[in-house]
């Protein structure tokens, strides 16, 4: 374990991570998780159920975001509790040059939200944003950033 409990303070930042997503990443997650809902890979279907475009699995966003915590803690087995609400969909437009390319990027930051001295656990509060690409042709570099996860909290057990 690389993190010493006694060195931590509430409000301390644990870092930032950017996670690029392409349509291929959604297909890979669909296969790995078994969640084959077509809203995550079929544009026509997504629009038919009133979504702006294909969207990422909420569980892909949740699963990718926690790696900031895992890498900081030094042991993925130390994450004893992890929760979130899904507030806004992460739109992943089609982008294909000579191959499938990333068309959006998640930005994840984490800070220490609470420390439990008796249990020696630390709660990391994550902020996860993605550009609002719900309008066709929106530019991920300039689009407004939306909070896609709310109350995203991971509890880490330290030694």
């Amino acid at each position: 374990m690389t993190v010493a409990f006694d060195s931590l303070e509430k409000g301390q930042q644990i870092g930032e991570r950017r996670i690029e997503l392409s349509r291929a990443d959604l297909v890979r997650y669909a296969g790995a998780s078994g969640d084959l809902n077509p809203i995550h890979w079929n544009e026509e279907f997504a629009r038919a159920v009133d979504l702006p475009d294909v969207i990422a699995h909420g569980m892909l966003t949740m699963g990718a975001a926690v790696q900031l915590v895992t890498d900081w803690a030094g042991d993925p087995g130390a994450v004893v509790d992890y929760q979130t609400r899904f507030t806004k969909p992460v739109v992943v437009p089609n982008r294909f040059g000579t191959a499938v390319e990333a068309s959006t990027v998640l930005t994840v930051t984490g800070k220490i939200g609470a420390l439990d001295d008796d249990a020696r656990t630390v709660r990391v509060d994550l902020t996860v944003t993605a550009p609002d690409l719900s309008a066709e042709g929106a530019d991920p570099a300039t689009a407004a950033q939306l909070k896609v996860l709310v109350k995203a909290q991971a509890v880490v057990q330290l030694a």
């Binding site: 078994g34 159920v49 909420g58 569980m59 699963g63 895992t70 042991d75 993925p76 992890y82 899904f86």
Partner: protein, 149 residues
């Protein structure tokens, strides 16, 4: 058909056993872009004190969603899967999931709340080893959108 409010308290027993394989952990870790060596390299996982490769913190969803399938497929539940939106999710790990685990999940419907013409369904999967050791508890809320939502 609207969601059946009488679902609350209903339990769906474990279906088939889920055997956690090393390649399944590696594939899931790649899919969530998790590069920590404990997901990929057995020696790295053992050096942290784990018996084998460690699953990423959200891997339990694979087991939980298989249990959810029983609820969604239940004709009495009235859940139209094409109108389901994942509203929130929680994982509580009693111990890490590692390769070689043989897991079963029992699903409990804890809450059904009317939301306009739709409903919010909260279910909990209790994931244990086949020997009965508690491994993880997952809680999911699914918003089933009504016809005009």
């Amino acid at each position: 058909m609207p969601v059946n409010p009488d679902l609350v308290g209903r339990t769906y027993p474990p279906a088939e056993t889920y055997t956690v394989g090393r390649e399944a952990i590696r594939e899931f870790a790649r899919a969530v872009q998790a590069g920590h060596p404990a997901h990929h390299d057995v020696e790295a996982a053992r050096s942290l004190g784990h018996a084998d490769l460690v699953a990423p913190p959200t891997f339990a969803i694979v087991v939980a969603q298989r249990a959810d399938a029983a609820l969604i497929a239940d004709p009495e539940a009235g859940i139209d899967f094409s109108r389901v939106v994942h509203a929130d999710q929680r994982f509580t790990h009693h111990r890490p999931i590692v390769a070689g685990d043989e897991l079963v999940a029992e699903l409990h419907v804890d809450q059904v709340r009317a939301m306009g013409s739709g409903a919010m369904v909260t279910s909990r999967a209790e994931i244990r080893t086949v020997e009965g050791e508690p491994v993880a508890t997952t809680v999911s809320s699914l918003l089933v959108r009504g016809e005009d939502q």
